[in-house]
C-alpha cells in the first residue's frame, strides 16, 4: 500500500482525469445534473464551458442528451450520484445508451453507503447490479484515486458504454502512481494459498488488512482487486479459486447482483468452491457517519476476517 500518500476521494480523481481528457481531446463533452461541485465535473466545466452542459435536476434528460452527443461523434461523460444515475435514469441508460452501444460514460459518484448522513435515499447499494444486467455495459469500480484516474483516462479509448463508480470520502492510496491501464480488471495485490479475498472499491484496503490479520493466524490469503466487475476477468478469478479452493468477496453494495454474484457465477461455471459474500444483506441504508455505517453493516476488516475463517472452517 502506498501509505505515504494522503488519502483522497476517487471522485476527485474523476474530476482531474476528466479535465485532462478535455485538454487532450476536443470531442470530449461532459454533462451533469446540478451536482457538478459534488461529482467534480465542475472543473471541466470551468475549463471548457462550451463543452459542458449542466442540465439541472433532470437525470433522464441528461442520459438522453449524452446519447445524442455520442451518436454525433463525441465521447460523453454524464455524472451524478450513483443512486440517480442508475435508478432514476435506468430506462434511459438502457434504451438510449446501452442498447445502441454508444460511447457514453455514466460517471457515478457517491456510490455505496459512505455517502453517510444523507441516508438511504442517497445511498446506492444496487447500482452495480443494475448496470451489470445491461448488455454492452462495462462496469468499473476503481479502488483508489490513482486507479480511478487511470480508469477515466482509459475510458476514452473503450468502445461502447461504460459505468464508472466513485465514492465520496477520502480513501487511502493503493497505487503509487496511476496504472497505465486497468488491464483485464483483476489485479492480484497479494499472493496466498488458503483463501481468496476478492474485493472492489473501498473494500480492497480492508481485504489487504484482513490478509495481514489472517497471516498472524497462519492463514495465507490471496487478495485480488477486481476493478472491472463486468466483463469480469474470468481467467484471473478462476485461477485464484483453483489455487486456494475457497473465497470471500467484499463490496460496498448489496450482496445481490454485484461483485459477489459475479465471482460466484465464475465459480459455478468454472470451479465450484465455497464462497462467502460480504456486502449489504438485502436491506436499505440509513443515516450515520461513513465509518459508523461500515461498522453497522459489517463492512469492516474484522468482519472480513471472521467470514474468511467461517468459510475455511466449513470447508474442512
Amino acid at each position: 500500500m502506498a501509505t505515504e500518500l494522503k488519502p483522497r476521494a476517487t471522485r476527485e480523481a474523476y474530476g482531474e482525469a476528466l479535465l485532462e481528457l478535455g485538454k487532450r481531446h476536443e470531442n470530449v463533452v461532459a454533462l451533469d445534473a446540478d451536482l457538478a461541485g459534488s461529482t467534480k465535473s465542475g472543473q471541466f466545466g470551468k475549463a471548457f464551458p462550451e463543452r459542458f452542459f449542466n442540465v439541472g435536476v433532470a437525470e433522464a434528460n441528461m442520459m438522453g442528451m449524452a446519447a445524442g452527443f455520442a451518436i454525433s461523434g463525441k465521447i460523453s461523460y454524464a455524472s451524478t450520484f450513483a443512486v440517480f444515475a442508475t435508478g432514476r435514469a435506468f430506462d434511459q441508460v438502457r434504451q438510449s445508451i446501452a442498447q445502441p452501444r454508444l460511447p457514453v460514460r455514466v460517471c457515478a459518484s457517491h456510490g455505496g453507503l459512505t455517502v453517510g448522513e444523507d441516508g438511504c435515499t442517497h445511498q446506492s447499494v444496487e447500482d452495480i447490479g443494475l448496470m451489470r444486467l445491461l448488455p454492452n455495459m462495462r462496469v468499473v469500480v476503481p479502488a483508489d484515486f490513482n486507479q480511478t484516474y487511470a480508469a477515466v483516462l482509459e475510458s476514452y479509448e473503450i468502445e461502447g458504454p461504460m459505468y464508472i463508480r466513485t465514492g465520496r470520502p477520502k480513501t487511502p492510496f493503493l497505487y503509487d502512481v496511476p496504472p497505465k491501464s486497468l488491464g483485464r480488471g483483476a489485479d492480484v495485490l497479494r499472493e496466498g494459498t488458503d483463501i481468496s479475498l476478492f474485493a472492489c472499491g473501498i473494500m480492497v484496503v480492508r481485504a489487504l488488512e484482513a490478509a495481514e490479520v489472517l497471516k498472524k493466524r497462519d492463514i495465507s490469503a490471496e487478495v485480488v482487486n477486481v476493478s472491472i466487475i463486468k466483463p469480469i476477468d474470468v481467467d484471473a478469478v478462476a485461477a485464484s479459486l483453483g489455487k486456494t479452493g475457497c473465497a470471500v468477496t467484499a463490496e460496498e453494495h448489496s450482496i445481490i447482483g454485484g461483485l459477489g454474484d459475479a465471482v460466484q457465477e465464475v465459480a459455478a461455471e468454472c470451479c465450484p468452491v465455497r464462497i462467502g459474500r460480504l456486502g449489504i444483506k438485502d436491506v436499505f441504508g440509513k443515516s450515520g457517519t461513513p465509518d459508523q455505517l461500515l461498522e453497522d453493516f459489517h463492512l469492516t476488516t474484522e468482519h472480513l476476517v471472521s467470514l474468511a475463517e467461517l468459510v475455511l472452517a466449513s470447508r474442512s
Partner: protein
C-alpha cells in the same frame, strides 16, 4: 416533389404500412397513418439527405421518438432508396433488419434506436448541441406523439432545448388525440401543447397535419426560427382508412386479410 406528388407518395407510404403490418401480424398502423403526411414531407421535400450516403455529415436528421410508428419510417426510408422496397414485407420477422421498433445498428438510415417513449427529444437536444459544436449545418426534425408527451422527460428536454437555444432543432407533435387506452384528453390531458411549448421558450406553429401545403410551409419555417421550434400537427389516428380513423383500438393491432383489402382499396382513391 410538388404538393400533388407528395400527396401521392403519402398514399404509397400508407399502403406500405397496411401491407407490412398485415403481413407481420402485429405492429402499429394507427400512428403510422396519422404521421404519414408529415413523414412524407420530411423525406421527400424538406430534408437534405443522401440515401446512398446515410452518414453524410451535413445531412438533416429525422428522429422518430414515437418508435412504434416504425412502419411509416421504414416505408419512407425504402421509398427514398436506403434499402430495397421488397424488404418491407419482412417487418418484424426473425433475421430481418426491420425491427418492431427502430434499431440504429440494424436498419440503414435509422438515426437512433427508439421505442421507450419520451427519450427522442433528449437525444435530439444532445445531437443538436453536438452539431453546433461541430459547426454542422443540418436541422434535426424530431417526431413525437401527444400521448408520448405525457412523459416527464419530454419537458426536461423542452427546458434544455430552450435553455441552450437549439436553433437547429424542430419538434413535431403528431397530435392525433389518441393513445392505447383511449382519447388522450380522457387518459391524461396534455393539452394545450402549443401553450406548453411556448411557456418553455419554444417558437410554436399549429397546423393541420394532413394538409400537405401547411406541413411543408411549417417545416421550412421552422428552419429559420432562431431558437427551437415546435410544430403541433393536428392529425387523425388511422388517417385514410375509414374503419381505423379515430379508433384507439387500431393503435397496435394488425388488420385481417379482409380488413387489409378494404384499407388498401380506400387508400388507392
Amino acid at each position: 416533389m410538388d404538393i400533388q406528388e407528395l400527396k401521392e407518395t403519402a398514399k404509397t407510404l400508407r399502403q406500405d404500412v397496411i401491407r407490412m403490418v398485415t403481413e407481420a401480424g402485429s405492429g402499429h398502423p394507427g400512428g403510422s397513418l396519422s404521421s404519414a403526411d408529415i413523414v412524407t414531407a420530411l423525406f421527400f421535400h424538406t430534408m437534405n439527405h443522401r440515401p446512398d450516403d446515410p452518414k453524410w455529415p451535413e445531412r438533416d436528421r429525422f428522429i422518430l421518438s414515437k418508435g412504434h410508428c416504425a412502419p411509416v419510417l421504414y416505408s419512407a426510408l425504402a421509398r427514398s432508396g436506403y434499402f430495397p422496397v421488397d424488404d418491407l414485407i419482412n417487418l418484424r420477422k426473425i433475421d430481418c433488419h426491420l425491427q418492431g421498433h427502430p434499431d440504429m445498428h440494424k436498419t440503414r438510415g435509422v438515426e437512433i434506436s427508439s421505442g421507450s417513449l419520451g427519450q427522442g427529444l433528449s437525444v435530439s437536444v444532445g445531437m443538436a448541441l453536438s452539431m453546433r459544436l461541430d459547426k454542422l449545418p443540418g436541422q434535426i426534425f424530431t417526431l413525437m406523439g401527444d400521448g408520448e408527451s405525457q412523459e416527464g422527460e419530454v419537458w426536461e428536454a423542452a427546458m434544455a432545448g430552450a435553455h441552450y437555444k437549439t436553433g437547429n432543432l424542430t419538434a413535431i407533435v403528431d397530435a392525433n388525440g389518441l393513445q392505447i387506452d383511449g382519447f388522450t384528453k380522457d387518459v391524461m390531458n396534455v393539452e394545450p401543447l402549443a401553450a406548453k411549448y411556448e411557456a418553455f421558450g419554444w417558437t410554436v406553429r399549429s397546423i393541420d397535419g394532413h394538409d400537405m401545403q401547411q406541413i411543408v410551409d411549417a417545416l421550412d419555417w421552422s428552419r429559420a426560427v432562431e431558437g427551437p421550434a415546435a410544430i403541433i400537427a393536428k392529425t387523425v389516428k388511422g388517417k385514410g382508412v375509414s374503419f381505423m380513423e379515430d379508433q384507439a383500438g387500431w393503435h397496435g393491432r394488425a388488420p385481417s386479410a379482409e380488413e387489409a383489402e378494404q384499407a388498401l382499396a380506400e387508400l388507392k382513391n
